[in-house]
Symmetry: C2
Subunit: 396 residues, 2 copies
């Protein structure tokens, strides 16, 4: 039998999905599970987006332009202008989700063996995409004690080598919920300019900024050629299945090279593009409601967590995740135990072990979990009841 | 400014799309262009598929399973059984078009620097996907004189080295229109078993087999672990924009490793999966009509071509392409000239230079073009009128 590739062996299994078999077994035992483990929101997709699909009546479902429908890209120019990000439709390549935008960006910008610095904890699949691209992830660890703020620039400087080619951030952050401020982003801008690096900024949670203002790397001046924006409609419109994202940069060389990868795979999904183009007209009231709901959910979760003995959870100001430190020593064991061996009134909860959000899961984040507050408040309260009881019963 | 990657530089531009600016300029001058350059059929997408999208009314457009909706995969088992291909739903990963299936297959099975043997001329984007994966394409050249039949196995044997990891075929073939018979596939089967290689078989034109019977590598016995099927609904249902393909293999190790790549990118498009699942119930009459139409188109094109002085075109028995040899020495120049400098009754035609379907476009296929017979017969005749006149006027 022919062997699989080294990358096939090295690819990490999804830390978020690897507990699924234990959850399925629990469900078969009749246990109700509160899913706080994945970023699949319960928020309804805007009707305007679903109507666009209902009214889409092509004779032939054709390939689109490899960069995405021009009408969609032109309309996105207006969407970004609303966030003070000035673009033309030629600065964008529409992709199959934010995932493909990251894949293409890494292939376009980094060579095999190049280094990508990422503040950790970070979105677990960055490990997978880096493995795919043959890129080495170099973490700079942020701390729960300051809410996962940007580590000191000196810490980044220490990690820069001749192979460093890019820095990647997620803002607002999955899994931390931390929203970088303008000063932090300017420090990163100065750093990438100084060392001639790319700054890949994953801003798919832009619509979920609470209390503090959103700032994009694309708003900063003097580094247009360094900045690459990763975007997606998945969370914005609760339309994860549409698989529509974007790779955006004013760097013409990057766009030209990225287009060759985009042309090889022909085009992004046509149905999703039709839906995403219509979604740009979603009324502001939709976002206001969603945001108010997430703030209320966050407040419940953070208050409940911090009221539990030995639990610490900084207040996130963006996205819909938080990282909590628990009085445990092995989050992987704890999260599996919740599904395999625990129930409270025939219910339990599913969490994402935070270890998977660090570049060295065997060592880091072992006493942390990521909680996605994507359920309604009554369910979140019941999930917190379960967690409170579980921490009383659990023996490390 | 940071430099782009070596792969970004090495990625080939699409040979099919690179003439687009010249076509756009011709259109601006008022010239009508017959597009025989791309495999975008004019055939209508089955109504059952469009209706499924109209009736799809989710509250939330959620991620699907990373391997694709289980209901879709289970229904595909029945589709493949109709072709005597016996599978379970766990042998399949649904992908974003056949393109992503190839990308994942190459990353899963081949290491950087490994060699992939492909009979040429081959689908141009195999070059791009191989560049992405860091894989070296090793061609075995087939001949127009026998209609691009499988080259002698001895020719493959000559090219096998310690780095050879896989052979890739397209059956029926784009761009050749050649349909491999069972004996040819058995020879390949024996070869991959002997040398412990994978056989990647791209069979996305399965529904377009004329006169001769379709045979799949998945029907052959004794090599389950070597066989990887690449599939797509793009051509089958004239639904290229749905972006739904599949990676299929009975090799459990390959599926397990491929799933890690599939999980990293989360899921294939939800809308497209709903459409593709419904499309399995497309009535046989749809395919009968489409097939009859393509046979009639092929007959017109092949007859017209072979009646032109100095033109040779073998009769394709599959897909909807043919390769014609023309009395020219530089197909890239000729195809550009057709758009830039030629018109006949204010019309011209766009062809794909065949050089791009060879691994060394600077040397091979220079007197060949690929013709996609994807237009109605009156238009095909007018396009052939243009070509006939063009060949009279063109000076090499």
């Amino acid at each position: 039998m022919p062997s699989i590739s080294l990358k096939g062996v090295a690819m990490p299994a999804s830390p978020i999905r690897k507990l699924v078999p234990f959850a399925e077994a629990a469900k078969k035992r009749g246990i109700k599970i509160y899913h706080l483990n994945i970023g699949q929101p319960d928020v309804e997709t805007p009707q305007i987006m679903l109507d666009a699909i209902k009214n889409y009546a092509p004779k032939v479902v054709e390939y689109s332009h490899s960069a995405g429908n021009e009408s969609y890209r032109r309309k996105l120019v207006g969407y970004y202008a609303g966030y003070n990000i000035n673009l033309t439709h030629e600065d964008m390549i529409i992709t199959c989700g934010g995932s493909e935008a990251i894949e293409i960006a890494l292939m376009t910008c980094l060579n095999e063996g190049d280094e990508l610095i990422i503040p950790e904890p970070f979105y677990a699949n960055y490990n997978g995409f880096s493995t795919q691209a043959g890129v080495k992830v170099v973490p700079v660890t942020s701390s729960i004690d300051n809410g996962f703020a940007l580590p000191a620039i000196a810490e980044f400087e220490k990690k820069i080598t001749a192979r460093t080619k890019a820095i990647m951030i997620c803002n607002p952050g999955n899994p931390t919920g931390y929203l970088y401020n303008k000063e932090e982003l300017e420090q990163l801008r100065d750093l990438v300019v100084k060392h001639d690096l790319y700054l890949l900024s994953d801003e798919v949670y832009r619509e979920f900024c609470y209390e503090k203002p959103y700032c994009s790397v694309m708003q900063l001046s003097g580094a247009d050629d360094n900045m690459i924006l990763i975007d997606s409609v998945s969370k914005r419109y609760s339309a994860c299945g549409a698989r529509i994202g974007a790779l955006i940069t004013k760097n013409k060389e990057v766009i030209a090279a990225a287009m060759k990868f985009a042309q090889a795979r022909l085009s992004p999904p046509s149905f999703g593009q039709v839906a995403a183009e219509a979604a740009i007209d979603t009324p502001q009231s939709y976002f206001d409601n969603v945001k108010a709901e997430y703030i209320a959910r966050r407040n419940v979760v953070v208050q409940r967590l911090n009221a539990m003995p030995g639990v610490k959870c900084p207040n996130p100001t963006g996205a819909f995740y938080c990282i909590a430190e628990l009085p445990i020593t092995d989050c992987d064991h704890f999260c599996q135990w919740l599904l395999e061996s625990f129930q409270h009134n025939n219910e339990t909860l599913m969490l994402a072990p935070a270890s998977g959000f660090y570049s060295n899961p065997a060592v880091d984040g072992k006493n942390q979990v990521r909680i996605a507050y994507v359920l309604n408040i009554p369910d979140l309260n019941k999930a917190m009841d379960c967690l409170e009881e579980a921490l009383k019963q659990y023996k490390n």
